[in-house]
């Protein structure tokens, strides 16, 4: 910023101070104005734009502290530096508590004055940048990506708006691919915790010991290979949101540890003794029937009640068919941008097929179908044959065979886990060799 664009307002009842400080800053090239009392300063503050105010504490009528309080009520941005005599340092400390940036004692060391102004301007610039970044993050992470206008999805959006600003634990339920993580992110983005991280733990993808270490971290030497202390997801979520995906898949021992940490917000790292505190909000998601799991004894009842405070049920895509066209166009535009392709839309036949499909993999399956079509399409319209909907069009026999469902499921798990065979095999509860056989048998290939 050019110095002539930076405004400094000097507020002092002594003419000589106003004149000499005014002159000092003018020689530096700043835009300077002076005010002989607090009332004049408030008028000038309202009329113009100021970066820094230098305010004398002792002034007849409204003193510098009261002026500072008034300024802070209407203007949070201007940096206020108070000027005081040696004898009134206590008052200067009070000014700092009221929101002054710093104080200087008269007579002022010229070098100190220059440095303080420079520092104050840097701080102001950082605060502005920080606010700008926060606004950008807020925009990017908002609920904007939940697409749809059906009554079912509107109800979900209403629930998100209601619960997001609170600190309540939320359980999101819905079939795989319905957008549970998206809802969790929208809840986080609408909460006062939005400037802190949302940390996701995929509880279904890990073994018991791995999940424990993932959640709570570990100390150096806690187990073979633990060469360094590592923070767990619970600790990383401090100030923010802990999103427990596939919470129904947690083993019973970790369920107990999790219940304790949710209740006390304290835990110990694996292999450690120190109590670590973390302030986080819990949002969890499951596609399992947890009530049934509780009845069967595979899920702790106390943890169930601790998590199931506010429930959001996500409808499957086949339950909100009215959103299919809108979602398909949304994904088309998204991938067109990503792939730098010019594709206008879907042919009537393609759209008909999209609307007729049952979408067992829900929105994720639709997204993947559009992505694949975008890869193979040559012209500017996606045709029926570009869509990988050979399996399950309603009313047809094809795709309903057990083998078709198995193929689709394996393909989906692989895709969800970035084609990590070990992780996918663990989720499918089969060994890696079997998974390799199935990949070969169904001719599954990774789409880049």
């Amino acid at each position: 910023m050019n110095k002539s664009e930076i405004g400094i307002l000097v507020v002092d009842d002594e003419l000589i101070v106003r004149e000499s400080l005014g002159k000092w800053f003018r020689e530096d090239g700043f835009r300077v104005d002076v005010a002989e009392n607090a009332a004049a300063a408030l008028r000038k503050l309202q009329a113009g734009s100021w970066n820094i105010m230098l305010v004398d504490i002792k002034m007849p009528g409204m003193d510098g502290i009261e002026l500072l309080q008034r300024v802070r009520q209407t203007n949070k941005e201007v940096v206020v530096i108070v000027i005081t005599a040696f004898a009134t340092v206590d008052t200067a400390v009070k000014a700092l508590k009221e929101g002054a940036y710093d104080y200087i004692t008269k007579p002022i060391d010229p070098d100190y004055l220059d440095h303080m102004v420079e520092k104050a301007l840097q701080q102001q610039m950082l605060l502005r940048e920080n606010q700008k970044l926060k606004d950008t993050v807020s925009e990017l992470s908002g609920a904007g990506e939940i697409v749809g206008e059906s009554p079912e999805i509107r109800k979900v959006l209403d629930l998100i708006r209601t619960v997001a600003p609170t600190d309540t634990t939320v359980m999101i339920r819905g079939e795989s691919g319905t957008g549970k993580e998206l809802v969790a992110r929208a809840i986080h983005a609408g909460s006062p915790r939005k400037y802190f991280p949302i940390v996701t733990v995929n509880c279904g993808a890990m073994t018991e010991s791995l999940l424990e270490s993932e959640l709570f971290g570990h100390e150096r030497g806690a187990f073979t290979g633990a060469q360094y202390r590592r923070k767990g997801k619970v600790e990383l979520a401090d100030g923010g949101t802990l999103f427990l995906d596939e919470v129904g898949n947690i083993d019973t021992k970790t369920q107990m540890d999790l219940l304790r940490v949710i209740e006390t917000k304290q835990f110990t790292r694996v292999g450690g003794t120190e109590n670590v505190h973390s302030d986080f909000r819990v949002v969890c998601a499951t596609n399992k029937d947890l009530e049934c799991a509780v009845r069967e004894g595979s899920f702790r009842e106390d943890l169930y009640y601790r998590l199931n405070v506010f429930t959001i049920d996500l409808p499957p895509l086949r339950g909100r068919r009215g959103d299919i066209a809108k979602l398909a166009h949304y994904f088309l535009e998204k991938f067109a941008r990503q792939m730098n392709k010019r594709v206008e839309g879907f042919s009537p036949e393609a759209m008909l097929a999209l609307k007729a499909h049952d979408w067992p993999g829900n929105v994720r399956e639709l997204e993947n179908a559009v992505e694949r079509a975008m890869v193979v399409v040559q012209g500017d319209i996606i045709e029926r044959n570009h869509l990988p909907l050979h399996a399950v069009v309603s009313g047809q026999k094809d795709g309903k065979r057990l083998e078709d469902i198995e193929q689709r499921h394996i393909e989906q798990v692989l895709r969800e886990n970035g084609w990590n065979v070990s992780r996918s095999a663990a989720i499918l509860d089969i060994d890696r060799v079997t998974l390799y056989h199935k990949i070969e048998k169904f001719g599954l290939k990774r789409v880049q």
Partner: protein
């Protein structure tokens, strides 16, 4: 460009004042004259601070120095050996009216012996020259420059002065010719 008068006052070293004429002529391309004039500096002494009020001195010169009284046709710089202050600051090396006709520079804080070092006339002359050019630059409406080596860069310590050169940077030269 207005002519420049240099006034050694309050017992300032006349040789030091004479040495300024050449660099000032080269920098501002105008007539430079070292003139004799006398004032009583004690009227500007603040007993409590043991320093001299530079603003008071400037105001006095405007009233007392005949070429300044007769009109704004000359830039006048007073060179003094005593310590200067303006009330809100602990000290100043000098003071000038930006775009005005009067300025003052003190070499009290510029001498190496003030910092426990042996006397060094060449270094003192260099520092005085830089500060004098700086204050005269203000009289020709130049403001502080962000270029570290430019003589118009703001200096609060002698180390800052030593880092500068005696000349104006290209931007300040262009500003100066624009204003002239």
């Amino acid at each position: 460009m207005k002519p420049i008068h240099v006034l050694p006052l309050g017992g300032a070293d006349p040789d030091l004042a004479e040495a300024l004429a050449g660099p000032l002529r080269r920098t501002f391309r105008t007539d430079v004259a070292v003139r004799e004039f006398s004032i009583n500096p004690e009227q500007f002494l603040d007993d409590g601070r043991g320093q001299y009020n530079s603003t008071g001195l400037l105001l006095h010169l405007k009233d007392a120095y005949p070429p300044l009284k007769s009109g704004p046709g000359v830039c006048t710089l007073a060179l003094v050996p005593f310590d200067l202050f303006i009330p809100v600051l602990t000290y100043v090396f000098g003071e000038a009216e930006v775009g005005g006709n009067v300025a003052v520079v003190s070499y009290h804080r510029l001498a190496p012996q003030r910092y426990g070092l042996p006397p060094d006339d060449a270094l003192l002359r260099d520092r005085v020259t830089k500060e004098v050019i700086h204050e005269i630059g203000h009289m020709f409406s130049l403001i502080h420059c962000s270029e570290l080596a430019c003589v118009m860069h703001s200096s609060s310590y002698v180390e800052d002065i030593d880092m500068k050169e005696q000349s104006l940077c290209r931007i300040c030269v262009s500003e100066l010719s624009h204003r002239a």
